[in-house]
């Protein structure tokens, strides 16, 4: 019997070690996997189920021990990493617009691309939780801006539109802000820290 000690390892390492061992084992050979991590314990069981391997839980305390015998054929469609991902929530990302243009280069092209970006975002199946606007990005949320309608529609879909107060002040646009709310550096930092992804158009 093979013993694979994965104590101290975090997902997906225990699953990868298990897979390596399985590949080296001969048919009907038995293996015991020792784990000390609840998440890896749960994920390994899902992984073995996907591989169509019948396993037994020999112990759950103090360490967790899973035992199985290698079947004749090991199927399985997914990689170990696939069992360890954090499930993505639908709107766990924020869009940060740090200038009124998309990318750097010709300003007129950049402005056109930004409008197209916002209109595409409206049709995206996965919407962000917030759109943060700073520096010249705040110009997009000002009265008469040609991006205003798009931002309003995004706001109606439940997305927070937040403009940097210092920037509105600097460009003297505070009175003309026409969509969303005014925010500060703490909030801008906090929203980006908490998001699993940040998108800069």
């Amino acid at each position: 019997m093979k013993t694979i000690d994965t104590r101290g390892l975090r997902c997906p390492a225990p699953l990868i070690e298990t897979k390596k061992a399985i590949d080296k084992m001969s048919e009907a050979e038995e293996a015991e996997i020792i784990l000390d991590n609840d998440v890896a314990f749960k994920n390994l069981q899902e992984y073995l189920t996907d591989l169509k391997i019948n396993y037994e839980i020999k112990s759950t305390h103090p360490e967790m021990i899973i035992r199985f015998a290698k079947p004749g054929e090991v199927a399985g469609s997914k990689r170990p990493e696939d069992f360890c991902g954090v499930p993505s929530t639908s709107n766990d990302y924020v869009v940060v617009i740090k200038s009124s243009e998309m990318g750097s280069g010709d300003p007129e092209l950049g402005a056109l691309l930004m409008r197209a970006f916002l209109n595409s975002l409206l049709e995206n199946t996965v919407l962000p939780s917030a759109i943060l606007l700073y520096n010249s990005g705040v110009r997009l949320a000002i009265e008469n801006a040609d991006t205003l309608d798009s931002l309003r529609q995004l706001e109606e879909k439940g997305i927070m539109i937040m403009s940097c107060g210092t920037c509105l002040d600097f460009y003297q646009l505070k009175e003309r802000l026409s969509v969303g709310i005014i925010t500060n550096m703490y909030k801008i930092l906090q929203l980006q820290t908490n998001a699993s992804k940040v998108i800069y158009p």
């Binding site: 197209a116 209109n119 040609d146």
Partner: protein
């Protein structure tokens, strides 16, 4: 129903955008729908009742424009 205006290239889109803006006509810039072209092109979406006005304003300025219903 949505009407879109297609142009030969992005520079024409930008010219058309300026012309229509000067004429007080509202358009939405958007990427060309993938089933029309897989290239990264830009087009404009216009309210159906404004399409004929828009085309007239552009043709006066020699802009080549095609209209699609999507």
């Amino acid at each position: 129903m949505q009407m879109i205006l297609l142009f030969p290239n992005v520079r024409e889109v930008m010219k058309a955008d300026r012309i229509l803006k000067d004429n007080g006509l509202k358009v939405q810039v958007m990427p060309v729908p993938e089933r029309i072209s897989s290239e990264c092109g830009m087009c404009m979406s216009v309210a159906p009742e404004l399409v004929s006005d828009a085309i007239r304003m552009l043709q006066v300025k020699d802009i080549t424009v095609e209209c699609y219903e999507i």
